[in-house]
Symmetry: C2
Subunit: 739 residues, 2 copies
């Protein structure tokens, strides 16, 4: 039986001890954990019987394991006996009571535990409590140890591997918690067979266990198909267990396993985050989950220790910038390595916003099922703009139907926004904190996203099985140029009889204070889908409408915009017919945004109108106030083959408190579709100082060397590669850039 | 001619110089001002011609005077010549151009200047620029000085005192800017006659000038009838000019003038602020104006120097707590005094939230036209709850029709909220930043407030003249008891034929984590108003509805709630009939709130219903998206003489990012009206642990010794004084507290 700390050597403990009271990230972390645990230890010990998800009992068990895990390490690091006593007493109390609790009544598909309504939470409990035990066991009596092992740990191991043994080898993100808990607990009580079973699976045949999990759960890019919200939840046991294996089964060489899959997937997760540390809410996700999550703290520290080169931990490092946002490290030697690097660099220069390189994360086991694109650009003031586009897979049961959907972030805010899931996690009066009906009827629908909805239906008709079978088709992802970066993809299987292509760019024009978002969304009906179609090009924004360039009617009475596919939840607040292009400007916190959009239908419409703008707000058909009231606007255009084109300009500054406002009107004046066909799309943007022609290839088989040659209105456009940009300044100097 | 700094002696400059680079508030202030001015000085000098309010030109002139004023002092304090050169060059440029600019075209009732569209802004410009000049004049050549005086300062003085001389003596809050600018500039150029005119008025007969202004603008309590938003704008020239008079005309003894009216009115302004430093938006006001405003920084520093006792600057001082929120001081010896006190105290103990004593600020020239009540209570965790009730005067042209309206603040947020004005200050595309139509049609109406609206009409029928003629009648204001504090007032002239009384309390019950808000609103129709009336008891909240104790219909189509008096702007989102009492619970950021309300009509209604709950949202009849979309709920009850009673409980904690939720349901279970008549109102509150009977006097002539004796349902209630509280614990121990 091991009664030594599983994750710390004596020498490491001593190094951590030296950080106590220091102003380093590690010193601050220790101090914060002390305050947290001290406050908790004032409360009487409590091991309550069954309660509801999100209720007191659930929360208490969770707090118990979190605090035991911290207290046990604080005992070693601060050398204060009170922390060991707390852990011993609480574990003993659990051992007294555990077997007297029956199993919870099963309410959904998850097996139930004795403490929690689903064993997932019981896995978490065991992993943390086992680690805690390993830190304090040496201070216990033999009787205490035996009591905890026989009345608590062994019954739990038995439950997970025998009673629920059929589930143990399932390849699933929750499965990582199961194998980590069982492997760690087995090691702690001296039964290495559990560790081996956890690593290699029950049948040692690569169909289960940790190595199979990490081999199969992630794409070669490291991306996890359910998205960052679920990814970050699996990353915690993944990193902790990897570190255990690294220390106790070095022959696995876990950190180099499968081309460094562990470092790879951590990097993929981190690289999705917005510059403020929040994760884009891809698929079912909260809008506020971010890198300050406990698991991501562990992951960043582990990554810094085992994968980062001295170069990536130097000045301007996005790893250190993320540590700054976290304001803490993992209370472990890995965290100490990160803390030391941070200390060295920050003494030389202030650490700014994370500026991760733009990255395209492929999807699917072989990386050939589309991708998620993340483009970032930094402006002259150090602000980082991020554009995210989904042209990968559907996220299974948590998937949203928003292939080709984008989100857009700058100046500390998501600007083109993701609604996230419809769920109030752990809020017991809101359906026990579980997913609400409106998650399906609204949040996952195409119209809830920054996307185009065809004929008021959802992509793949909201059929999950069908959606899981298809994926986006990457066209190009080009980010080498500091002044222009873009990505383009097709989605041809998401609406019967329609091909779609979206191309989105960040463009740093000389006269603009921030990068400009340029977006082209092309819809091509197939032979069986001829005739007029309704295309809804929707934009989820936040803030206050400041101005438009068209008249609209604010409706005297408002009705839902439609009957199904999410439209039933949108109030049709106001609408009006746009001219050749539509301008919608709004204020979000301290910044102004001006959107200028058009459609190719403006070129053929008898009124030269690009369509109608409809202003909506969520909240219709919401009998229990389950949705948030949020605004959006839609450019609705009727046509056959159609190209939407828009720019979004970020400009000016407003401060209500200090009553300051500058540059409330943007500099971009117009956008026009010159033409589009199977070969290319040509649009023109006019600002106060220049005219910009953008030429984009629509040919799926194009490459860097493909020559394009299209003629619209008797003018011919020629370029080589995926796209080209021609900037004509008012002084009539021309620049042609080809990509 | 004076070429010495007007507000600084050589010795004081030296003391300020010693703060450069120090971590004190003054050191931080100097550093921040340096960064601000250095950034501005990189731009080319610009003295633009006419522009629109809120436009570039307007902002540039404003930035010019702000930066000159700072740069001039930075020259003295840092001894860096570049700051003096900047001021001299910019002032010289103004002198070159000023007389070449014509006057702006007049657009509203304000006279126009040569730089700005209204002379108010030109007054600001002159006050700051004159002070700046005084700091750098000694470094100028005689020619430079003469140029600035003859081509800039003298023409301005002439404009203010001759061209617009008829306006100079008007007693008005803007008038303080005029006299301060003229007095200071006169002194700077050696023409004391302007100083004297500014202090004593043009005719030296107490109908104009600074002394008349400060004697007549404020109530004896120091309150300014338009509210804190307009008050803080006048406080800046008031304090600066007072300090000038103090130094250059000591015979006025300005800081002791009229029973220390200056200290008194600064204290009144500060004492209105919420614990986070924001001012309650009484009357026309933004919701974000607060003590970080430049003028309030000057005022707090001036107050600390000339009025605060060592005792009020010791531990727990609300003055120091406010300085902490400001994070800066006035860059002046007054600010240095505050900075020194702050440094001394904060080295001993962390400075917490401001906890101003509860205060009742009387209104009217003699303090007999009602009052504004501010009650504060601090809970065990140090959080400060604040209750504000308006039972004073109407605020003239900026007045809202909300006598007996309340607002409620805790845990860093306004919970029962004020909408504030309907205006986007300085946002040029929003009607030039001016007041919008919806300010009258919605924001100032009774229904936009936490108030009772009778028969769907506004108080005083939205007649300003009529509203200015009446005021609230204070009943009691009792704040001695740490566990219970309350105020009560009548408003009998605000609706024809109705008398109204509101009594609001903060109650710290043992079992509750935060003070409970208890609110009683009584409506008594007169002889000519018999029959049924519609009473709308409205609550402006923020956040997400979590649960109710009654069924409601979310409407399939939504219409405005009414046609006039603000109702036309409210969407009727959902409604339902409540039982004897109605429960509405919501989540605002990290806290849960549960409101339980009832009306006496529940005792007579055939369904035992206290009325209907209507959930609304602003935005109807808003053709230009001028309003913010904000929710409210109304308890609508039909009856004759009616008492509304409610409690608002603050409980629990929610953190979406970390997915934590505790105590999502409150402990208060019910509220009931036992009875009410001309003598008293009796209500009962039930919590999980106790039953609380509250007895309140409704007799306008009651006092501390009045004996009350009322019988309802054959039970008699007896007490002495304004109110009494009886708490029956589940263990059946009784406590009777009389007030």
């Amino acid at each position: 039986m091991i009664t030594k700390p599983l994750l710390l050597t004596d020498a490491e403990i001593e190094l951590l001890h030296q950080e106590v009271g220091r102003p380093s990230l590690m010193g601050q972390t220790i101090e914060a954990h002390k305050n947290e645990v001290d406050a908790f230890m004032i409360l009487p010990l409590d091991v309550p019987e069954h309660g509801e998800a999100g209720g007191y009992e659930h929360n208490r068990h969770k707090q118990n394991y979190i605090n035991m895990n911290l207290a046990a390490r604080l005992f070693l690091i601060t050398k204060e006996q009170k922390y060991a006593s707390f852990v011993t007493e609480l574990l003993s109390l659990y051992a007294d009571k555990y077997l007297t609790f029956g199993f919870h009544v099963q309410k959904n598909t998850n097996p139930t535990g004795r403490l929690f309504h689903q064993i997932l939470n019981e896995h978490c409990w065991l992993m943390y409590s086992s680690l805690a035990y390993s830190c304090v066991a040496s201070s216990m009596t033999a009787e205490q140890r035996q009591h905890i092992i026989s009345r608590l740990f062994e019954p739990m191991l038995d439950m997970f591997t025998v009673k629920y043994g059929h589930d143990f080898d399932r390849i699933h993100n929750h499965g990582i918690w199961a194998v980590a808990a069982v492997g760690i607990c087995g090691l702690v009580i001296g039964k290495r067979e559990y560790l081996e079973m956890s690593i290699y699976g029950q049948n040692r045949n690569e169909t289960g266990g940790f190595l199979a999990q990490i081999s199969k759960l992630f794409a070669p890019s490291g991306y996890y198909m359910e998205g960052p919200y679920y990814h970050r939840y699996a990353i915690r046991p993944l990193c902790v267990f990897a570190e255990v294996i690294h220390r106790h089964m070095p022959e696995v060489d876990i950190y180099n396993y499968k081309d460094k899959v562990i470092g790879n997937t951590v990097e993929a997760l981190l690289s999705t985050a917005y510059p403020n540390g929040a994760f884009p809410a891809l698929n079912d996700a909260s809008r506020t989950m971010g890198i300050t999550d406990m698991g991501v703290k562990v992951a960043l520290s582990m990554y810094a220790k085992h994968y980062a080169s001295p170069n990536t931990l130097s000045l301007g490092s996005h790893i250190l910038s993320m540590a700054k946002i976290q304001g803490a490290v993992w209370m472990h030697p890995c965290g100490l390595a990160l803390s030391k690097s941070y200390e060295a660099v920050s003494s030389e220069q202030e650490i700014g916003l994370p500026f991760w390189p733009s990255t395209e994360l492929s999807e699917g086991p072989n990386g050939d099922r589309g991708a998620q694109g993340f483009i970032r650009m930094r402006d002259n003031h150090g602000d980082v703009t991020q554009l995210v586009m989904n042209y990968g897979q559907h996220g299974m049961d948590h998937g949203h139907f928003d292939t080709l959907g984008i989100t857009y972030f700058n100046r500390g805010h998501e600007v083109l926004r993701e609604y996230g899931f419809c769920r109030w996690v752990n809020v017991e009066p809101k359906f026990g904190g579980r997913y609400l009906d409106e998650n399906k009827s609204y949040a996952r629908q195409t119209i809830a996203h920054n996307c185009v909805t065809i004929n008021e239906r959802c992509q793949n008709d909201f059929n999950i099985k069908r959606a899981d079978a298809v994926h986006g088709l990457p066209h190009f992802f080009k980010v080498e140029d500091e002044k222009m970066a873009g990505m383009s993809a097709f989605a041809n299987d998401h609406y019967d009889g329609f091909e779609m292509q979206r191309s989105a760019f960040l463009l740093q024009l000389e006269e603009l204070e921030s990068p400009l978002l340029l977006d082209l969304y092309r819809l091509e009906p197939g032979e069986n889908s001829q005739g007029q179609h309704q295309y809804d090009y929707s934009h989820q924004y936040a803030g206050q409408i400041i101005r438009t360039n068209f008249d609209y009617n604010s409706h005297q009475e408002v009705s839902p915009l439609g009957n199904d596919f999410g439209y039933q939840h949108l109030w049709n607040i106001a609408s009006g017919q746009a001219k050749k292009s539509a301008l919608v400007s709004w204020l979000q916190d301290n910044s102004y945004y001006t959107w200028l959009g058009t459609s190719s239908n403006a070129n053929t419409d008898s009124n030269s109108s690009c369509g109608d703008i409809i202003f909506t707000r969520t909240g219709a058909n919401d009998p229990s106030f389950n949705t948030r009231s949020e605004p959006a606007f839609i450019l609705r255009s009727h046509g056959q083959s159609t190209l939407f084109a828009s720019v979004l300009e970020t400009h000016g500054y407003f401060n209500e408190e200090f009553e300051q406002s500058v540059n409330a009107r943007g500099l971009v004046k117009d956008i026009e579709v010159i033409g589009h066909n199977q070969v290319a799309s040509i649009v023109q943007i006019s600002t106060e100082k220049s005219s910009v022609i953008v030429m984009i290839s629509n040919q799926p088989d194009a490459n860097e060397n493909t020559e394009h040659n299209v003629t619209f209105n008797e003018k011919t456009y020629r370029w080589t590669g995926f796209y080209a940009l021609e900037i004509i300044r008012s002084q009539a100097t021309k620049t042609l850039q080809e990509k």
